[in-house]
């Protein structure tokens, strides 16, 4: 039987799995970007990568504090295929951030207490990162 607490921890674990995937994909996208020819995009990807690493650490710490083993990353993730331009890389990164935002929003109601607060804080960070990748602000990100 699933209790409220275990459902909350599962939500945090799901968010952690999302962060593992995001770090992998952003690392790959950053590797295809030139800091010389596209400094703004390179900086946005680096900042996003660092932000996701921080999110991963915060989520893992929450799971450990609950006495549970944090979910491990997969060996490999699907990467966006056939991206040959900076615009394509930027669009793929923005799509990743929009998906991350939507996933966080879907997980928030399943969490309780400090888990829910953490997920909302990371949701807000994901929504803000969208702007760095060219998105316009909206009233209800993630919906």
């Amino acid at each position: 039987m699933t209790t409220a607490n275990s459902a909350s921890t599962e939500a945090v674990q799901a968010a952690l799995a999302v962060e593992h995937a995001s770090i992998y994909v952003l690392g790959a996208l950053g590797g295809r970007t030139s800091a010389t020819s596209s400094p703004a995009l390179a900086r946005a990807l680096t900042d996003a990568y660092d932000d996701h690493v921080n999110a991963r650490e915060a989520l893992a710490a929450h799971v450990v504090a609950a006495g549970i083993e944090p979910v491990a990353p997969s060996a490999v993730y699907d990467l966006p295929a056939r991206i040959r331009s900076d615009a394509g890389i930027g669009a793929a990164a923005l799509r990743l951030e929009k998906d991350t935002t939507a996933t966080y929003l879907s997980l928030v109601p399943k969490a309780t207490g400090s888990d829910r607060t953490l997920l909302i804080q990371l949701l807000c960070r994901a929504a803000a990162r969208q702007l760095d990748l060219g998105a316009e602000p909206v009233a209800f990100p993630g919906t």
């Binding site: 929003l105 879907s106 997920l119 949701l123 929504a127 702007l131 909206v138 009233a139 209800f140 993630g142």
Partner: protein, 137 residues
């Protein structure tokens, strides 16, 4: 025991009385009982909604119109009680707008309804986006 004559009289009068009574009920709508509509159930999250909207309204005093515009969408979706008053504005508008992210996050933590939790969390993200876009967070 009723005599035969009395019993016949009662039998004759009784239908007339019953008939007259029915007719008066039909013809006099003023005396008809009011329709039984049970009161709408109270929303257990209404106090959370109203307190949050009061904070939003207070934060918007002196802020750029982009914030008020964003908050109009948030308030409309939250559906507060009619006539909710703004809390008194204190400090710089920038600080009040930054604090709204915490206000919305805290409200999402207190709410019970999953749809309201989602709405408040998304509104917090929308506020964070606008602040980030203006270099305030």
């Amino acid at each position: 025991m009723l005599s035969r004559r009395t019993a016949v009289g009662v039998a004759v009068v009784a239908p007339l009385a019953a008939s007259a009574c029915s007719a008066s009920e039909v013809l006099d709508p003023v005396k008809a009982p009011p329709p039984s509509t049970p009161p709408a159930p109270t929303n257990p999250d209404q106090s959370v909604i109203d307190a949050t909207v009061a904070e939003i309204l207070g934060a918007d005093k002196g802020a750029p119109s982009a914030f008020a515009q964003l908050h109009r969408a948030h308030i409309e979706a939250l559906a507060p009680t009619k006539g909710v008053a703004a809390v008194p504005a204190k400090g710089r508008w920038q600080d009040r707008q930054v604090a709204l992210v915490t206000t919305l996050t805290t409200a999402a933590g207190r709410a019970a309804d999953p749809q309201l939790i989602t709405l408040l969390a998304s509104a917090a993200a929308g506020q964070q986006q606008l602040l980030h876009g203006r270099g305030l967070a």
